[in-house]
Symmetry: C2
Subunit: 284 residues, 2 copies
């Protein structure tokens, strides 16, 4: 089973619906409810896959919220609330679960999306947590993956690569930075995504039939201990990757390339296709 | 680990938040977003626990949606949309997953809450699906578990018990019936819940420090093959249990008891306490 292919196949079968203003396949879906638009995303965290068994419950709870709230940042949206489920082995102590929910509750409130519902169950499988994030779009409307224009700068917040050394457990979703970018760049902010699967794959998600993302690997802001290859393929950076017709302030983001005519891929200036670099895929 | 105790313990630690208009612990949580109130609930379905391995993927997908949408009925709310996640063993075929999502998509749209987001992952555990349901409250506000008054009739839609024989796979959430009840009973509809854990336990959730639910077991509408004991404790009926100051139309519901002064429990007219009858608990 390939997760991305399967999701795409499923989304292709869902009929369009009048109330859905951003269809499945972006960082969040969006619906019109009365006079308001509501953005929603759901994400899963599996112990043994997204965190190792030895990570403290507080940090696991924090990461479960942070991963999903990174989708809020990717739409330049404002957190409103969240829901959380747990499915844990029956032998799990109440104390461990309580510590985990406490870690989640703390950051969810701090970041403006308090937990207001949930569910707990048991199974023989690994501990698994889902977070549903609910957000409001900015006044100008959510920034989606679809909107890049030829000639845009391709930019990234923070640093890339070697997230496994610790960043993936301690990162703060770039919600504030997304708001700042929107304020500074305005209409010039054309498209955005958060880097979870890896720069190569996620950059390709900003491409279209007519446009490709061209990355100058010499410009990549490397995290301590990261290689260029790692910055392209490691994933779990949870940084914002966006295209803009105007240069972003240097304290907020680094220009790493540009949007050029071409089609449906991410490439390096050396011509290497990196669209498949990252989670669940091998690089060429 | 006791799921109900743990959830209660977690909810007790969450601080109240200005935007939350119905706190965790009811069938759905509610938030004020701009000028709208939005209800949300999340529910998990685990293969091997909530359905057996041999159930068809279409029916599993249908039940995952139906379970969660039953919470919408319990608040007399109107479905708006939904999200769905899957975590399945790596060996699972795309075909099985697609059939499952098709079963889910079909009823979600039919019942007015189309799927507009999701996530797919793999683990070594049993297949697990979560559904997030999003709904709008009725004009008069959502009907919660808190609102029973001494002298109310205690009423139930449909039939109870022996759901395991098939009803738990084929039931339709009582969304339409809840709307009808609200229309007919108006302000007399005081409190409501859906019966998922079992009549005994769920009736106790409508009780308060001053009020108890008194059930005449001779009045219970038994499903084919059900015993009185099963009607009280089997669970997974997904019928509406509500208290009303006026008699409901007989085609919509059956009166099975009344709300009386007492405290925090469900009892039979013979005096037997049945508050613990149902899922995860033994009857006395």
């Amino acid at each position: 089973m390939n997760e991305h292919e399967l999701l795409q196949s499923i989304y292709n079968t869902t009929t369009t619906h009048a109330g859905i203003t951003i269809a499945p396949g972006d960082d969040m879906g969006e619906m019109q409810i009365g006079s308001e638009r509501i953005l929603c995303a759901v994400d899963q965290l599996i112990v043994g896959r997204h965190v190792t068994q030895d990570v403290s419950p507080e940090i696991i709870g924090r990461k479960a919220i942070a991963r999903c709230f990174s989708d809020i940042a990717a739409m330049a949206a404002i957190p409103v609330g969240s829901l959380m489920t747990a499915c844990v082995p029956a032998k799990t102590s109440n104390q461990w679960c309580e510590a985990l929910f406490l870690g989640a509750t703390k950051v969810a409130e701090q970041w403006g999306g308090p937990i207001f519902g949930g569910d707990i169950s048991c199974s023989e499988g690994p501990a698994l947590f889902t977070v549903t994030a609910i957000a409001s779009p900015p006044e100008c409307g959510a920034i989606t993956r679809r909107g890049a224009q030829a000639g845009d700068y391709l930019c990234v917040t923070g640093e890339l690569g070697n997230s496994i050394a610790g960043h993936h457990l301690t990162f703060t979703p770039r919600i504030g930075q997304a708001q700042e970018l929107l304020e500074v760049l305005g209409d010039n902010l054309h498209s955005m995504i958060d880097i979870s699967d890896g720069l190569g794959q996620d950059a390709a998600h900003l491409a279209s039939n007519e446009l490709q993302m061209v990355i100058d690997t010499q410009l990549l802001p490397l995290r301590t201990g990261a290689t260029v290859q790692g910055a392209i393929a490691d994933g779990e950076d949870y940084e914002l990757l966006f295209t803009s017709a105007a240069l972003p302030p240097t304290h907020l983001a680094t220009v790493i390339g540009s949007v050029q005519e071409g089609g449906n891929k991410a490439v390096t200036t050396a011509g290497e296709v990196i669209s498949t670099c990252g989670w669940n895929h091998q690089c060429p």
